[in-house]
Amino acid sequence: MSRPAARPAVDLSVQLGRLRLLNPVMPASGTFAEGLDKVMDFGRLGAVVLKTVTREVRNGNPLPRIIERPQGLINAIGIPSKGIPHFLSNVLPYYRGYSTPLVASISAPTVDGFAALAAELSVAGVSAIEANISCPNIEEDGKAFAMSAEATARVTRSLRSATDLPLWLKLTPNTGAIAEIAASAEAAGADALVVANTILSMAIDVNTFKPCLGNIMGGLSGPAIKPIILRQVFQCAKVVNIPIIACGGISSAEDAVEYMLAGASAVQVGTATFLQPAAITTIIDGLEAFCMRREIPRVTDLIGGVITEEADEADVAWLGPES
């Protein structure tokens, strides 16, 4: 972390391994770009997480790339990327103007590709590497790395030896074994986990009989997925000791609190920014107000605070409205 914080009534700072953040709220990869500097002061963010970059230049998927659903959207953008040279010479210098920790999100189709990219991005101005391992692994028949504990361990080990930067692994929710996969990422050297990416989904236009997305399938995000990802964060937090950064449907400070209670140390905000461009700073303000109201001195006091003792039957049954 970069600058000394004055003592506010609530201490919002969080520690993610070696990295200290002013507060636990940051954008989700792929939902943030320079345009937002006209909306919010980037100096206020816990961190800046950039859109996933690939080494090669990529065009992305055919249109349409996004379709809205009730309380969510499905995207199949396809990681268009201008490649690493452009990233190093154009994108990084722009963000060096801010003291906020910068997280570079990377993706590659092979274990070696991931490692090489992480090494190339271990440069001044990058504070952490977020490995988006939800993308298809061409060595495993296109199955995403994060769908298997073994593949996750393999790519994490390789990334670990390629960079000294804090290493975040972004898991996919499209698995029945997220806790197992989280544990294998931790054992292989991850410094933190991002739980999680989008949920594989589909929509068909009943007028044209065609898929609503050019790519046929895409990833669901937004409030619709929050109960599912919350469960996954809770499951992962029970088995790992490294910090978890929650990501899925967060659009209010209460959502952030819910995730921290489930065990998250920080949160990422994605789709909400499309609805309220200042969502991230609004959530930071709301988190401070929540802690103030509840007289919680440090936001870290929320982490894992959910009370799961066997509920007392009398506690939960409804009685009369004014009994």
């Binding site: 000394p4 809205e68 309380q71 995207n75 953008i77 499309f274 609004t282 303000d285």
Partner: protein
Amino acid sequence: MRGSAIIPLPRRDVAVPRVPAEDATAPNSTWRPTIVAEAGEVIRHEAVNAEYRHIVVACGPEAAAARPGQFFQLLCPQPPGEQPFLRRPMSVYGVDADAGTVEFLYKITGAGTRGLATLRVGDRLDVMGPLGVGFHLDPTWKQIVTVGRGAGLATLAPLIEAARANGTNVTAVVSARRLDLLVRSSRFPSHGVDVVEVTDEEQTSGPANVERILRRSIAEGRCDALFTCGSSRLLRVLQRLAVEFNLPGQVALEQQMACGIGLCYCCVRDFNVDGQIVSRRVCWDGPVFDIREALP
């Protein structure tokens, strides 16, 4: 509406006040937003004809600074039984910085605009903007030609006003399916704007006839630049003429949008830049583009 009474201050979407400038957690204390999302009060809302509606919303100074060709993302209320989730892009139809208002002209086409139509005067509409790159107007141009069809007229109307404010004359070709659907903007200055109405029902709106009208303007030296919005067919006509007569031209394009501010890359279109096909975000690199580069 102009010069109307006190406009209430819009409510911002920030729930708690921002950290005060002297707080060390707000290091960049000189930073100020230039794009805001705010729940502005609906000041006026009425049908213009069977298809179009005109809505006027109170807004703060950032929104009221919108330029012709820019747009806003509107958070449409939910109409009964439907759930529009994303915002909807709408061109600025007019702003009044003194009154603190922004105006839109829209057509009801689906869930979002059906939701818009439920708004009553006094309700609030969350408008986010101004967004995108607007039209470039060269003050040395004496006369420009605009060609708009359908909702495209909403986009061109403030350009025409701005041109007149610069002392530039305008030939405004206005196209619609039927005469009763032509949007006759009361905002057009009475002098210096030559409105040419063409319609499908009169069979005057075909590309051939529009081309004839444009060729006449060009031949008479009344066309220093071309502007269009709302029709791919007409865009092709204008592109041909721009190349043939080496005229500058701009087009405002539409594309499905999610974020509206350059984050998501869902609104890309291909452009022909010096023979190379490049992909650009309509919301961020546009919606106004050089007419020669657009692929209709």
